[in-house]
Amino acid sequence: MARLTINGKTLEVNVNPSTPLLWAIREQVGLTGTKYGCGIAQCGACTVHLDGAAVRSCVLPVAAAEGKKITTIEGLANGGALNKVQKAWLDHEVPQCGYCQSGMIMAVAALLKEKPKPTDAEIDARITNICRCGTFQQVREAIHAAAKA
């Protein structure tokens, strides 16, 4: 059993405390926007926010997320209005297959909270998600656009 607060709702999930948060979110809570790509903190597809900071949920035991505020991609849009990162992603048509983009958007949203106008170097240092479709050129443009919004 673990008590999780996800996107503003608190719920009990019936899992072994060592279960990675990713799988609790997907399989117990039923939110499937957060993806699995590697399971070893390499790709960032599973990125969610823990008290506002980006974390890779595939290696984070559920126990470590108890008592913290978890935000997933489903909780990023506020009352149906797209977050400025999502909006920039839409304007710049960033996604190709889209599979990596939940994690990419969550990583960028956390970055912008900390550094509202990131430089290219800051983007390079902080956004390390893998995108096999290769959307990086649009990702960079969209980050700068979101920073201006």
Binding site: T34, G37, W89, P95, G98, I127, N129, C133, G134, F136
Partner: protein, 726 residues
């Protein structure tokens, strides 16, 4: 062992004959008569491609798969262009392979690969839109009792010109659906296009931003269980034994099952439980003979092929042996390209539900029909008892097209628990070790010059794997695999772009037990490196500028030359580059498109490569959606440059050593160069977009690396030389 696509039997002959390339023209002949075919919501189907709802929503059917490259939007643009419908009311849907079988392949080929989504179907999808328009206009004319020739359609509105009367598609669709389809409609001249050639927004973006989009991996069905699988790490090996009792008591575990003769799966309430139990399950493998194979033994086999007497010839003129023997000067080089895995971000998965009466599969696939064939074969049921539902793909890149091993596995698991839907999801480790890898290839090149430093002869000997031998042996030509020679053929969609007085390009086929597959770009990836880096080597050997050296050999190849000139001009070839920046060039004819790149790089400490910019050009004939083409150019470079710098699957004791992105890396945003695209659509042909450009990035960067360091790297990936992309 060679991996083959499922054998097609009589039950599935419809698919079989088409998969063997029997032509796509079956498309539009559906008997309609007076009975209306209806979509699921009851809306009338004007023809196989177009459903129109009473509220004027236009649903366009898309047979190919959208796997990220924008095919869905591009194909919808093509239908809508001829349909003259309101683009803002367009929606799309996938017909199922089962429906396709029932309707005699009304939608043609489902296969999405080889950059063929648009270039192979442009004719019949536009005809689909045109016939629907003609029928809609006819229906309005009938209602008004006027000749159809006095009516025209635009933006989903039909107008009777003399009277000014108007109606909409939604209002006449029901009547239109009862009409007989006209024969071959006349299509618009390209100069009349309003939608083709426009960078309209993709139709499928929004759900990818909110977590709403359902990929195969996200599918939930009532009562569904989850499976995790381990196949014998050595290809061709088998399961000897496993101790199910050790894990059956673990949380959530429902079944431990053998899958075929080479794999074991744990089926549990959740996937994490299944995976945890599988990790704890003792399995003993019978690895077989292939356990003796290593990267070194494969390399030695290929090396022997470089000088073997027997080889398949693809391109030949003059007498290359004599030219080399009589040369005033000759140079020689040997290159080698490794195995690489596709590693799409979404690992392989499929969901299957089996009863003795019906087998259903939900799967992210590049080829719904091939998934259907795999379902028939694994279930043992006839076509009318099977169905496949295509779910969104988290990337394909060739892994999910010809190969449906995961579908076979899912069905074999589901068969052991009839009535229960089972979702099989591979770990990334399973994906890395059970790929259908980019084939290994070595190449020996010899260039001969006369005393005036003119190129008089070129011999290019390839030695390595044949994909078609493993995957589609019926496509071999007296044993020769024509696909090996992409970019090196005398003509066609992959034409060699030089005139060399004495030329020989041949292939010594050397196959391995590691299953090969179609990896984005396929064989043109290594052919572009071999040819375009060696061109650079020959230019330097001849003491000539690499661009001028090429130009002299290209006068009979104006389209190749045009893209090469375009990138050279835009990049400022021949003018000084910024301090410390060096340039390299490459071009190819790839999937019917002419492509070229000029890379600008700098190198720190001899091994840290920064790619500042790549100027890329493509002449794809007609450009359907330029904004999406630009994204494909940049995206293909990420895939290709990841391959060049970082990616290799090595073989030890018969298995692939790399297991995840920590040992098989992929580019990050920090390593992304600025990509400047030049789309120079010269018209008159339909070239591919998803793959063509991938092949020019690597040789352009390698040639720039030589310009910067004087070092020629001929084996890949570059990480093996301590070279990193920064």
């Amino acid at each position: 062992m060679i991996t083959r696509t499922p054998k097609l039997n009589r039950r599935s002959f419809v698919i079989g004959s088409a998969a063997a390339g029997a032509g796509l023209a079956l498309g539009l002949k559906i008997p309609f008569g007076a009975s209306v075919v209806r979509a699921q919501d009851g809306s009338p189907e004007v023809n196989a491609w177009v459903v129109i709802r009473p509220d004027d929503t236009v649903v366009i059917r898309i047979a190919r798969s959208e796997m990220g490259q924008g095919t869905l939007t591009g194909l919808a643009q093509m239908v809508a262009e001829e349909l003259e419908c309101d683009w803002s009311k367009v929606k799309t849907e996938y017909p199922t392979p089962g429906q396709s079988v029932k309707r005699k392949r009304a939608w043609g080929d489902f296969s999405t690969g080889g950059s063929r989504g648009i270039r192979d179907s442009h004719q019949y999808v536009r005809e689909g839109g045109a016939t629907a328009r003609i029928m809609l206009i006819q229906a309005a004319a009938n209602a008004w009792n006027v000749p159809a020739s006095e009516c025209s359609a635009s933006n989903s509105v039909i107008t009777h010109k003399p009277s000014g009367r108007k109606t909409t598609y939604g209002k006449v669709a029901e009547a239109a659906a009862k009409l007989t389809q006209p024969e071959k409609p006349t299509l618009k001249d390209p100069t009349e296009w309003k939608l083709i050639g426009k960078s309209v927004k993709r139709l499928d973006t929004i759900d990818k931003l909110t977590g709403k989009q359902v990929y195969g991996f996200d599918l939930k069905l009532p009562g569904m269980l989850n499976a995790s699988i381990k196949d014998c790490p050595v290809f061709g090996g088998k399961v000897k034994s496993y101790e199910a009792a050790k894990v059956t008591g673990m949380p959530g575990v429902r079944h431990v099952v053998k899958v075929g003769d080479s794999a074991v799966a744990v089926v549990a309430d959740t996937w994490w439980q299944a995976k945890t139990a599988l990790d704890a399950l003792p399995i003993v493998w019978d690895e077989g003979e292939n356990a003796k194979v290593s990267s070194a033994s494969i390399a030695a086999m290929l090396k022997e092929g470089l000088d073997a007497d027997q080889a398949f010839v693809a391109n030949q003129n003059g007498d290359v042996k004599a030219a080399i023997a009589g040369a005033a000067k000759k140079i020689e080089a040997v290159y080698a390209y490794p195995f690489q895995n596709h590693a799409p971000m979404e690992p392989m998965n499929a969901t299957a539900k089996y009863t003795p009466d019906r087998c259903e599969v939900w799967v992210p696939t590049q080829n719904g029909e091939a998934a259907f064939a795999a379902t028939l074969a694994a279930s043992g049921l006839p076509a009318d008892k099977c169905e496949v539902y295509k779910i969104n793909l988290g990337g394909g890149f060739g892994r999910r097209g010809a190969f449906h091993d995961y579908v076979t596995q899912a069905v074999l698991i589901a068969k052991q628990m009839p009535g229960t839907p089972v979702k099989l999801l591979w770990t990334r480790e399973e994906d890395m070790q059970h790929g259908r890898y980019h084939p290994v290839m070595q190449c020996k090149l010899v260039g001969a010059f006369d005393a005036g430093n003119n190129l008089t002869g070129l011999h290019m000997r390839l030695s390595g794997q044949s994909i078609l031998t493993a995957v589609r042996p019926e496509a071999l030509q007296q044993g020769k695999d024509p696909l090996v020679f992409q970019g090196l053929n005398p003509g066609g969609d992959f034409a060699f772009g030089y005139s060399v007085p004495n030329l020989l390009i041949d292939h010594a086929m050397r196959n391995t037990h590691v299953p090969p597959g179609f990896w984005r770009g396929v064989n043109i990836n290594q052919n572009a490196i071999f040819l375009e880096c060696f061109m650079d080597e020959m230019a330097h050997a001849a003491g000539q500028d690499p661009l001028e050296f090429r130009r002299k050999l290209m006068s009979k190849h104006p389209k190749h030359l045009a893209v090469l000139n375009a990138v050279a001009d835009r990049a400022g070839w021949g003018k000084p580059a910024p301090r410390g920046v060096y340039r390299g060039l490459a071009h190819m004819h790839s999937f019917a498109s002419y492509v070229a790149a000029c890379a600008e790089i700098s190198v720190k400490d001899g091994d840290k490569v920064k790619i500042h910019r790549i100027v890329a050009a493509t002449d794809c004939g007609y450009a359907v959606n330029p904004a999406q083409i630009e994204r494909q150019i940049a995206g293909s470079f990420v895939y290709g440059l990841s391959g060049l710098f970082m990616e290799e699957c090595t073989v030890k004791d018969g298995y692939i050593e790399q297991t995840n992105f920590n040992t098989y890396d992929s580019m990050r945003i920090a390593q992304m160069p600025k990509v400047e695209s030049i789309i120079m659509a010269s018209g008159g042909f339909w070239g591919g977009v998803g793959e063509p450009t991938i092949c020019v990035a690597a040789p352009a960067v390698l040639n720039a690396f030589f310009a910067a360091t004087g070092k020629r790297i001929r084996t890949f990936p570059l990480k093996n030389h301590g070279i990193t992309l920064v």
